[in-house]
Amino acid sequence: MTTHLATERSGRRGRSARNPVGRAGYVFVSGYVLLLLAFGVLPTGYAVWLALSNSRNQLVGIGNFTRTFTDYRFGPAFLHIGLYLLVWLASLMILVVLLALMLHGRMRRASTSLRFLFYLPGALAGVASVLLWLILLDPAASPVGWLLKSFGWNTLAQVNAPGHLPVLFTVIAFWTGAGGWIVVMYGALNSIPDEILEAARIDGASTLQIALRIQIPMITKWIAYMLILAFAAGTQLFVEPQLVSLASWGMIPDSWSPNQLSYQYAFQAGDFNGAAALSVDLLILGLACAALVVFRTGLFDRDER
């Protein structure tokens, strides 16, 4: 990708190492580092400590992990989240890239307003958008009730059937979260020099070929980046099941997702150590996925392949 960009960046880097003025950079990042330490690193360290100890502050090794692993809700919660991630990540990757490509190629004239439209739901606070869905999903109250009824779902209880949940949460998450990614992908597509696309077109490449052979390979890193963040956010699913459960008078188990199970541990059983062990499980999962994606796609490589 873009040789000149990379060299420019490393050039700047080289300059700052030699030039004392470059130290201003440390001032700029200091605010972020401080917050990262206070709200990111320290809590993580505390969670690891809690996960390895008990309420009497004694070390217990992996006791908390084996204990939560054998909990009857552990398997179902991770199965639920696995199914959800499968549906969510697949639809996110395919639809976001597809929509961004269409915006970039065919609909340049309408693209500004469309980009705004896509982004709009994401601009609402997360919880507020989920609340909106609570109304949309009840066939009796929903403006699209006819659509739900055409699937044969006449009551909220039928819409919320356990088998529908991964897809349901995907729809909500896609609607609230995908808009931002479409805008990011659009930006990524814009960074592809026009000459390359033009050259391809002169060589007789069709739109499909350009998309598959040039555009998508050139934005792989952005897709990888999206994958990492979406995976981490997806494993931490909490608001959607919690709120839909509240709205349906508890029709969704209170420990549907691992994060909810962790919440149950902490606040129903008062077992902060078990809760910490579960969140460390999620941390390890997230890190492992990130490492896999980073190394497989060369996300942090700077030079041209």
Binding site: V60, S245, P253
Partner: protein, 454 residues
């Protein structure tokens, strides 16, 4: 992969990573304690020892929006008491904010509200537990014995653990048989007195007036309406943190069969009364509905908008083979005094006033648990003229008929029923089919919270 980071710093990074991993795994291996969560504290703490008292200090009161005007009224009549009012969810509709916050305050060692209201009738089951239970045992010199004796029989049951009373009951939610008198007269039906007559009438309604309903099984609180009244041992405390769960008991299966047959016939709905669909399409077709006393104003009047002079209440139903009729209870708020309070006198005085004074309780939305206040409350209900008949005698009778075998537990029977049984009902299974899964769900949940199930 390209090394854009200099080799030396890469090595450094690797060393740091190895060091961190090593430290963590060392910690992980250095196990010397047991991973058991807090060993269940002997939950009968010796005599209650209040913290050092500060006379006249400010008390913090947590209440829900419906109760806050009452606290404000108290403040007006007692201007010398310093009160800080905090409005919170009140744990309504299955929320557990109070427990969540108290867990955090326990962890932090400060911050507990001096007085807290909760709409969750199960809340005393956790508030009375632990090394230092959040709730003060009010019977140990905090609230006078004569006040405690003034509550309806069994009203303080959900507050009582190991012989101590950990809360005062705000209101009762005793179940009665609600019916639409106008429709019943029109159809020429008489109000049933036994569950057998109820079933027979349900079958008749399904044939003669299809679409009309005599009950709902899709409410989260359905087990408390039907199975509690049937004396089903779905959660009977047999000792300290010990419960008996036996849904195969004949007292459970008889109710499951009754409801299954009526669901199949169509006169009992699988929906919940508060769903938008039910309110829109079914509300005017409710002929009878077993349910809590608060259904009268909250459901029929405010939600269903049934006109004045139609709804009436009848005594809880009885099974023909049983000696007497029993009923259940759907909710009913609780008032806690914090065991950590620095001004127990002010806190207990406020709680006593809120639960017993006619000034507040007689005009409250729900049936007071305190007997004298209930009399005044019923007089007020009569004055509204909403009900077709005086509900007073039935409410008072039902208040004393609550079966004591259904215990308050740390887990919510409602949450379990709605996440296990209701989805099964909606997928076409019957209640009888589901009893096994339901039993497992209760047992698993109880065990996960440290209960012994037998």
């Amino acid at each position: 992969m390209n090394d854009d980071v200099p080799v030396s710093s890469r090595r450094q990074l690797r060393h740091t990573a190895v060091a961190v991993l090593g430290a963590v795994s060392l910690l992980a291996l250095a196990a010397c304690g047991s991973a058991d969560p807090t060993p269940t504290a002997t939950s009968s703490p010796a005599a209650f020892k209040p913290v050092a008292q500060q006379q006249g200090s400010e008390i913090t009161v947590w209440a829900d929006a419906a109760r806050v005007p009452g606290v404000q009224a108290y403040q007006k009549t007692h201007p010398d008491v310093k009160i800080k009012i905090v409005t919170y969810s009140g744990d309504a509709n299955g929320a557990n904010d109070l427990q969540t916050k108290v867990q955090l305050f326990d962890w932090a060692g400060s911050g507990w509200p001096d007085v807290a209201f909760s709409a969750n009738v199960n809340d005393a089951s956790w508030a009375s537990q632990g090394k230092t239970p959040y709730a003060a045992p009010v019977n140990q010199g905090v609230v006078s014995q004569s006040t405690l004796k003034g509550f309806a029989d069994g009203a303080l049951g959900p507050c009582t653990f190991n012989g101590d009373t950990y809360c005062l009951r705000n209101d009762l939610a005793q179940n009665v048989l609600w019916y639409n008198k106008k429709l019943m007269d029109e159809f020429g039906y008489s109000v049933p007195t036994t569950w057998e007559e109820y079933q027979a009438l349900g079958e008749k309604v399904a044939k003669e007036h299809p679409g009309y309903l005599i009950g709902t099984a899709g409410d989260a609180w359905s087990p408390e309406v039907y199975f509690w009244a049937s004396q089903c041992p779905a959660g009977t405390a047999t000792g300290d943190k010990k419960v008996k769960v036996d849904l195969q008991d004949s007292k459970c299966t008889r109710m499951a069969k009754l409801l299954d047959s009526l669901i199949a016939k169509g006169s009992v709905s699988k929906d919940t009364v508060f769903s938008a669909g039910f309110i829109k399409n079914k509300a005017s077709r409710v002929l009878m509905l077993p349910g809590p006393s608060w259904y009268g104003q909250v459901l029929f009047n405010s939600t269903f908008k049934i006109p004045k002079g139609q709804m009436a209440a009848a005594s809880p139903l009885k099974f023909e083979g049983d000696a007497k009729n029993y009923t259940g209870n759907v909710g009913g708020g609780l008032w806690f005094v914090s065991s950590h309070s620095k001004n127990l006198k002010a806190a207990s005085d406020l709680v006593t006033w809120m639960t017993t004074s006619n000034a507040y309780q007689a005009t409250a939305g729900t049936y007071p648990a305190y007997k004298k206040a209930a009399v005044a409350w019923l007089a007020g209900q009569k004055k509204t003229g909403y009900f077709a008949e005086d509900v007073g005698p039935v409410f008072q009778e039902a208040a004393e008929l609550i079966w004591p075998g259904w215990s308050a537990t740390q887990y919510s029977q409602e949450a379990i029923y709605s996440s296990t049984v209701i989805p099964a009902l909606n997928s076409g299974k019957t209640l009888t089919d589901t009893l096994g899964t339901w039993q497992t769900a209760i047992t698993d949940k109880a065990k996960s919270l440290g209960y012994t199930v037998n």
